[in-house]
Symmetry: C2
Subunit: 205 residues, 2 copies
């Protein structure tokens, strides 16, 4: 694709670096910005730069935050001795939108994945173990994606936690609501058979 302007080409290339955006989409976005007032585009560009420069991470749970401590950690109505361990901030947002969890979070910033060169040292695992020790946490709930990386991470953290007096659980895997048995994959179906629940507990839950 031959563009008639270097300025345009640079802008398209910058947009095309974003995930899921190819050259054609990038051009569409840039041409849209070109139709806007200079002021609006200035605002767009400044907002992005400011966000990157000034954003902080909560010193306690590593969630994105405007201050030193995020709003969830600072909320005294939440149960501070329950920690939900998640991979990233998108998972925090997903769980928060269920309005069913009243504890705090710990954002790992990724999952252990030796193939991608991500070891435990690059994740917020040490700060999690220190936090559990210091705050005498009662329960940690692993809400990680159900894949090899997720299971490895759970296994690694679980080993670190053995000396501590802290219950560890993981969110249930099984057939999703609205899902149909015949279309479920074998792994999910096998796991949901193995981890079957007493009906009384299911009805109560």
């Amino acid at each position: 694709m031959q563009l008639p302007s270097v300025l345009l080409e640079n802008a398209v290339n910058e947009f095309a670096k974003l995930p899921g955006i190819g050259k054609k989409t990038a051009l569409r976005l840039v041409l849209h910005l070109l139709k806007q007032d200079t002021g609006n585009v200035q605002l767009f560009s400044e907002t992005i730069a400011k966000m990157r420069q000034e954003i902080k991470f909560c010193q306690r749970c590593c969630n994105i935050s405007d201050g030193d401590i995020c709003a969830i950690c600072a909320n005294s109505f939440r149960h501070q001795k329950t920690i939900c361990v998640v991979e990233n901030i998108r998972d925090v947002i997903a769980i928060e939108s269920t309005q069913q969890f009243n504890g705090t979070y710990h954002v790992l910033g990724g999952l252990i994945s030796p193939l991608d060169g991500i070891g435990p040292d690059q994740l917020n695992i040490e700060s999690l173990v220190n936090r559990i020790q210091k705050e005498e946490t009662e329960e940690i709930i692993f809400a990680l994606n159900p894949n090899i990386q997720g299971d490895t991470t759970i296994y690694y953290i679980q080993k670190k936690l053995q000396p501590l007096n802290c219950t560890a659980t993981t969110i249930a895997r099984g057939i999703s609501f609205g899902g149909e048995l015949e279309y479920a994959d074998e792994m999910t179906l096998a796991r949901s058979l193995a981890n079957r629940l007493p009906v009384q507990q299911y009805v109560k839950g």
Copy 2:
């Protein structure tokens, strides 16, 4: 979607203003930028702002350009007395990538569309008529999208051109290559029957 930071929320809202980008995609893009170096994000934001501030439009054909005259107009190997009239710069790029057109362009910047409040005055139609008059253009080729707005625009410009000695043509509409007759819509099929070509001309073309 409740975001844990105002800075993050502002950045997501800015991205979500772009066409075809919703809040979830915007969040994914912003979180990607958050993982990048501050320098890279600075570069991203500066490139966009600079593009909007400094980009020029060719004084002759209204195409996007780095200087007063775009590279296509400045190219003396191109046939300067043939003008291809297009809606926007994306169409210029599409036609250029065929490498089959050796004339110049005129970018209208839109199509006449009374329902959207776009009249001839908001488009680069006057500059086109002046240009044809001044440069004694021999042929203008309309390459506009085949819809009501496109046809209205062709009709309007055609009327303006009647006093001038200039051939006006429009790109052929018909069954696309690789297309199948039975799946073509009736309008296209009817038009391609009405505008049938002598076989000799087809084989030559």
